[in-house]
Amino acid sequence: VGVRERLNDLTAEEQNLEGLFPELKADGYEITSQRNSRYNCIAWAAGDQTRWWQPVPSPVRGQLLGGYYWPEGIEHSFTLRSYVHAFRRQGFRVCDEADLEDGWEKVAIYVDSAGVPSHAARQTKDGIWASKCGILEDIEHSSLVALEGGGNAYGTVSTILKRRRRDLPSPQARNIL
């Protein structure tokens, strides 16, 4: 199949995503939602599809700008430290490996070339990754590399965190069962 035929078979959304993230097509991915501006990748990774999680300062009040959510008590700064604290508040802890571990839910934080958080992805039960791309669609991608790179891509993965999957009984409960 030639390039032109292949492009004709792609939806506008797929063309858009593959243009933005050059590694995505080779890695394999699937679009799993419509585009939505109401939540971002950080919210999505934390399991919230209703709010945009970001410490956006009000340009006139010096507080959080109306329309955005950031966990209370977490520093209002666009730093990796602040974002890690926000995930720690949700029960995540920093870990070393992105590999699938039974019973654990993992999140990867990407940073840009200046070390500023640019994206977060969440690991599914099957070991693939789920991402919300800005105000675009949710996607599932086979590896974290799919969204890495310069330009419009999200830089590099900097930090992995994990927490017990909430849809599984706790270890104690499993013993009782």
Binding site: N16, L17, L20, F21, R35, S37, R38, N40, C41, I42, T50, R51, W52, Q54, V56, S58, P59, V60, R61, Q63, L65, G66, G67, Y68, Y69, F78, Y110, V116, P117, S118, H119, A120, C133, G134, I135, L136, N152, Y154
Partner: protein, 152 residues
């Protein structure tokens, strides 16, 4: 001499000499100079009036900048990166005349986008303090506009 003929000079003529700052965006400088040069002829006695855009000019510019902003920043995970985009900053630069157009954007569920920074910057006020979702903020901003007679 016009920009593009010689990259070292930009001639706005007469009173517009102050605007050499637009060297930063050469292609915008060409539009800017042409538009305001025409106005200088139409309003020779009011320097400020020469810098006012007509409603139709603002409408056209807003749509063009909005489309450019949305298409070039849609994948950005950080709203801060989105609002720092040059098109968004130019929308803010359109000033109070653009507020009704932004408020109209908030009424459409399908296209609701991150306009709250621009509104707060132009108006000098956050009409949605404490709102934690885009929908809540849009509702509070449109209520604020209605109460102040800005929705009709």
């Amino acid at each position: 001499m016009r920009y593009g003929e010689d990259d070292t000079e930009l001639d706005f003529g007469g009173d517009l000499d102050d605007f050499r700052l637009v060297h930063v965006y050469p292609h915008h400088a060409v539009e800017f100079a042409a538009s305001f040069r025409a106005r200088a002829t139409a309003s020779p006695n009011s320097r400020r009036r020469r810098f006012r855009r007509t409603d139709s000019e603002v409408d056209e510019l807003f749509v063009s900048l909005r489309d450019e902003w949305q298409s070039e920043t849609a994948a950005f995970g950080s709203v801060f990166d989105r609002i720092m985009h040059h098109s968004y900053q130019r929308i803010i630069g359109l000033g109070p005349q653009v507020v009704p157009l932004i408020l109209d954007e908030l009424l459409d569920d399908e296209t609701l986008d991150h306009w709250f920074w621009a509104l707060a910057m132009i108006v000098g006020y956050d009409a949605a303090p404490g709102a934690s979702t885009l929908d809540e903020a849009a509702k509070l901003w449109t209520e604020w506009a209605s109460v102040n007679g800005l929705m009709t």
